[in-house]
């Protein structure tokens, strides 16, 4: 055994390294955020929210991209959430120890962290090739597939936290199982389930890769789901890689908008989640 002084020395060195790691890691993340806010805010104006994406070299806004993103997100959530909640309900309520649940849980966890660009390829093959053109609906479908695993996971986790005694009490007064699930289990797990949906929205609002070759992009105002549709992340991608300064500035502003939206959603989700814990 090394001497006490040597052990203390090792401890001091290692703990300093750990603190240094924390400082090092947080500094990079702080630099990124500061740069983003600095560059993003300098381009932020009313025009961003009222004008269309401009042709190269002139001024404009991001209105069509923001609208496209919102529309596809809403559709994706509207489709993905009910399916996700139902699947989560099966795993936590009806088939808790069933083999199917275990398989679905495993697959769902893999889908949760699978590369999103692969989802894009899948939807391209399924919808873009069949329909013959890029479309907003394909983009929404890709996003819905990304919403699904998040909602399934949180729904299942939250329903499993509901004490069985509550369910038994419901059954004891003669309520059929689905009424128990709907009016007892869902009600008890509501806050957590909403958190899951919010986290899912936060996740898809910044997704770029699956939209690149499903919704493609659109320079003009369009809410036609059967046509290519602009979205904020893809517009950022295109503008950032362009040589035009006005486009690059818009890309930074768009990045700031997305980041603020994602941070706001995560914080709201967190507040919802912590309310649940304390109550």
């Amino acid at each position: 055994m090394a001497s006490y002084a040597a052990r203390r020395g090792t401890n001091g060195v290692m703990m300093t390294l750990c603190t240094a790691a924390a400082v090092f890691g947080l500094i990079w993340l702080a630099i990124i955020l500061i740069e983003l806010f600095w560059r993003g805010f300098s381009g932020l104006s009313v025009d961003v929210f009222t004008k269309m994406t401009p042709p190269p070299g002139s001024d404009g806004g991001l209105l069509n991209a923001i609208a496209g993103s919102l529309l596809m997100t809403v559709i994706a959530v509207a489709v993905g959430t009910p399916i996700g909640i139902l699947a989560g309900t099966y795993m936590a309520e009806y088939g808790r120890h069933h083999r199917l649940s275990m398989v679905v849980r495993f697959i769902n966890d893999i889908l949760l962290s699978a590369p999103s660009i692969i989802v894009g390829l899948f939807v391209y093959e399924m919808l873009v090739v069949t329909l013959g053109h890029f479309s907003g609906i394909a983009g929404a479908a890709a996003l819905a597939i990304l919403v699904l695993p998040v909602v399934v996971r949180t729904t299942e986790d939250m329903l499993l936290l509901v004490p069985d005694a509550l369910r038994e009490a419901g059954t004891a007064i003669g309520a059929p199982r689905w009424v128990v699930i709907r009016s007892v289990a869902y009600k008890a797990a509501r806050a957590g389930m909403i958190t899951g949906v919010l986290l899912a929205i936060a996740r898809i609002s910044g997704e770029t890769a699956p939209l690149l070759f499903t919704a493609l992009n659109n320079q003009f105002w369009s809410l036609n789901l059967d046509a290519p549709m602009a979205s904020l992340p893809v517009t950022i991608f295109q503008f950032a890689l362009s040589p035009y300064e006005s486009w690059q500035n818009l890309a930074w502003t768009g990045a700031l908008i997305i980041t603020l939206a994602v941070l706001a959603l995560s914080i709201i989700a967190r507040v919802f989640g912590s309310q649940k814990e304390s109550s």
Binding site: A21, I32, L36, Y90, V104, A114, S116, T208, L212, P233
Partner: protein, 326 residues
């Protein structure tokens, strides 16, 4: 239900309500089960569509697709070696940096950080884990790559110029963009991910174990390295592999800064490409079935790699969870 039917003569209203209950229960049960099966169908569908899409390429090139470096859209010669190489190298760079730093942050958060700061810093790290990758990409392109071009890269080239072996690893003009830059961005990106998972896992160590070790006179480092890490080893490895899966499949952060060059050079300062960056850059511009199909085949390779990594990660995390529950 049977009790009601047995004891009283048929009350039509009651009977109808009961059977309505039974039907709606069955409907709801099947609805939820169908939704659960749909999750499976999605994954199977992804696999089938990738295989289907990559069939022409695989039929043309066979398995040599995997170890051919050539990627020439003009002569329609495609091979996956360069993107696979780029994917692996950027992920290795990212992991070499992110694993020690991430675990360091977790140790800091669980052992060293003053209590009032623990929650805020922990929450900040978790929020940062949720920031979309395109943000890291745009920052990498406009800020980080020029910064590296003028500082780290000339330094590396100058320092290792006469060191045999390393001179070719850090060779070439400092472009700014390239394999090393992509790896570093990935490291910054997966950092919050690794530290928040590791911290969660560290918190599952029973306080009793740690307190006994402290009671025997161990230092904080000894408790961490001999109690916490061995106890959580499997789950930490699982968390790291989860992060690896993310790094392997990461698209946007890499696409901005990798340079998209289909070639293999020993120098990490040279531009390269990864599987996901190739798909993102070239897919919409791909002309000809064979080109598109080759990109699908790349996607299939990525899918198989990440599936294996993620499956291992989940199994390891599940093992830890079972033990914690038992």
């Amino acid at each position: 239900m049977t009790l009601a039917a047995d004891t009283r003569s048929v009350d039509p209203v009651r009977q109808r309500t009961l059977s309505k209950f039974a039907t709606s229960d069955i409907v709801f049960y099947n609805l939820t089960r169908a939704a659960a099966v749909l999750v499976l169908v999605v994954l199977v569908g992804v696999a089938i569509s990738l295989i289907n899409g990559s069939l022409p390429a695989l039929q043309t090139f066979g398995f040599s697709f995997l170890w051919t470096e050539k990627w020439n859209p003009v002569t329609e010669q495609f091979g996956a070696l360069a993107p696979i190489y780029g994917t692996v190298v950027t992920s290795i760079i990212a992991m070499i940096i992110a694993i020690p730093v991430g675990i360091g942050i977790a140790v800091f958060l669980t052992e060293l950080c003053p209590r009032p700061l623990r929650r805020p810093i922990g929450i900040a790290v978790e929020l940062l884990a949720g920031i979309p990758s395109i943000i890291y990409g745009i920052w990498g392109l406009f800020v980080f790559a020029p910064f590296l071009q003028h500082t780290l890269q000339p330094f590396l080239i100058g320092t290792f110029k006469y060191v045999p072996g390393l001179s070719s690893v850090f060779a070439g003009p400092p472009y700014g963009i390239g394999v090393l830059t992509a790896g570093l961005i990935l490291a910054i990106m997966v950092l919050p991910f690794i530290s928040s998972i590791t911290r969660d896992v560290f918190l599952t160590v029973p306080p009793m174990l740690k307190e006994s070790a402290y009671g025997l006179g161990m230092t904080t480092w000894e408790v961490t390295s001999r109690i916490t890490l061995p106890y959580t080893r499997v789950a930490v490895v699982g968390g790291v592999m989860l992060a690896l899966g993310r790094a392997l499949g990461e698209t946007m952060a890499v696409t901005f800064v990798i340079g998209n060059a289909h070639r293999i050079t020993p120098s990490v300062l040279a531009p390269g490409t990864t599987i996901s960056a190739s798909i993102a850059n070239e897919f919409t511009e791909a002309t000809g079935d064979l080109y598109t199909s080759s990109l699908f085949a790349l996607g299939l390779v990525l899918f198989v790699i990440t599936f294996i990594v993620l499956a291992c990660a989940r199994l390891m995390l599940a093992r830890m969870k079972r033990r914690a529950g038992a």
